[in-house]
Symmetry: C2
Subunit: 343 residues, 2 copies
Amino acid sequence: MSEEKRTEIGELGEFGLIEKLSGGFELINDKTVKGVGDDAAVVDSGEKYTLISTDMLLEGVHFDLSYVPLQHLGYKAVTVNVSDIAAMNGIPGQVTINLGISNRFSVEALELLYEGVQIACKEYGVDLVGGDTASSGSGLVISVSILGEVAKEKVVYRDQAMENDIVCVTGDLGAAYVGLQVMEREKQEFLANPDMQPKLEKYDYIVGRQLRPKARMDIIHEFSELGILPTAMIDVSDGLASDIFHICKQSGLGVAIYEDKLPIDKQAYETAAEFSIDPNACALNGGEDYELLFTIGQDNFEKIKNHADIHTVGYMQTKEKGKTLVTRNNNVVELTAQGWKHF
Amino acid sequence: MSEEKRTEIGELGEFGLIEKLSGGFELINDKTVKGVGDDAAVVDSGEKYTLISTDMLLEGVHFDLSYVPLQHLGYKAVTVNVSDIAAMNGIPGQVTINLGISNRFSVEALELLYEGVQIACKEYGVDLVGGDTASSGSGLVISVSILGEVAKEKVVYRDQAMENDIVCVTGDLGAAYVGLQVMEREKQEFLANPDMQPKLEKYDYIVGRQLRPKARMDIIHEFSELGILPTAMIDVSDGLASDIFHICKQSGLGVAIYEDKLPIDKQAYETAAEFSIDPNACALNGGEDYELLFTIGQDNFEKIKNHADIHTVGYMQTKEKGKTLVTRNNNVVELTAQGWKHF
């Protein structure tokens, strides 16, 4: 490597960087079933598969403590990891939490954070089993790892979607992103006029979606009860467009998404309009919804078609047909992904 | 909780803080065998136990990039986690790595870091199976989690040491700490006179112990071959004194350590003298040696007494007899732990 060569991290983007850094690694342990490249890694532990996933939240990048309460942050840090286990059709079991903290945090502040962790642990039946704390030069750093398990015949990857499979998404999309815009606006108004009281009541749902997302373990349990095994699945962390791209790429397929089928909550829709942003763009690219995005064979359609919280939004097509969005006016345009960029 | 109450993190220390924060958590998942409080957590995965451990390294706290090469840092980040699996008598399998990085790092710099990760992965038969990268406001943050496995009847905890068990330690102690002093001195001299060339040749062993510690998986394999099952075990990350205290506390015992039995490398000994620091104190409190500290029943003594790299340094005694150090002059003094403090 020449000493002069300097490639900026921003040139590659987050996914490009991970691919570049982990690209040279071959799997050498015969227990490893799936390495980098899905919501969780898969390890053969004999009777079942063990799942492991990890996520790091950095102050100033992933959260802003001027409007994110510490208790909610602790809750969310666990939730986003549970969501990764859900996306493998797995059941979460244990988490570890590493904290980097500066002296500006008191023990009482950290206890609030852990109250949120504990609420999430109880809700998802997960144990906190380990972790480190260390002083951090600047902001708060939270790194969570999670263990889960799944029966070997039930694990769901991103790469097994088939042509003509139906694309489904749970809940609604875009609300977390619009909720973030509301909090950013309140923050600016507060900075301009500290005496002002925040008016968040009419935004309660969308702000809650941002601060306290739920992992859809309820859907995973329903899959089991209904005998549904998705062909591919991912959780919506970067936005539907970005996340369906992972399924397309890994399954070697294209997709057609119908704009008028995107599930958008009324409050999110109206607030997006208030901000003069397109609610469809929020649904496609907003991210942080932590809903499940999955594909099923057409023979499974009967089982989900009347489900109040599962929405069919499109179908998988050949790679040659591309990734397309059918707009409300029935124009077919290219689907583009503008998910979160952290660099 | 009153709003006025503010307890500083430093009042509790690292272990006190972890205990306080995780103290309110009860284990609720029936697969969790062991939660917080050992080198790794233990999960029942059916045929075997799955082990999980995690460690976070923060720039400016755990490492100083002005003298730690990135390749060595990547190697060490994996090694310290492997060492935690070794301390449970387990075999490591997979790691995940979360990176927080600022824009001052180029892609090429991160590739160096991952070269070190890869070398360690190959050496220990471990796969890199996941992780995140995100921009960090300031320094480099590396959070590693590791999975391992162990046969159910072979797991070794910290809490099963018995009175009269022999205390053993592998390799030598204190060298990593003395190596750190050498590098700190070189850094100061370099800052004072940038034209000076560092003279590290005569310190190669101790500097290597600091930069590139080994996890003692060789010993774990030997235990298996020799039919040795320690009664308690921990890896020496904070210093022998601090680490034996964990075994004492969790096993409800005291200990007697013999100063003249502490294994100290010649280069470490001489360099400590050069710095006018007590080599015994380095061995007891230096930390970062990543050797294994364990207790065995007296009936196992024959199996290890001629082992070149296992040293008997004392024995476990009742709690009432306390934690004692028998000095070279045969004085019996209280053993005190002054391990690393990160707050």
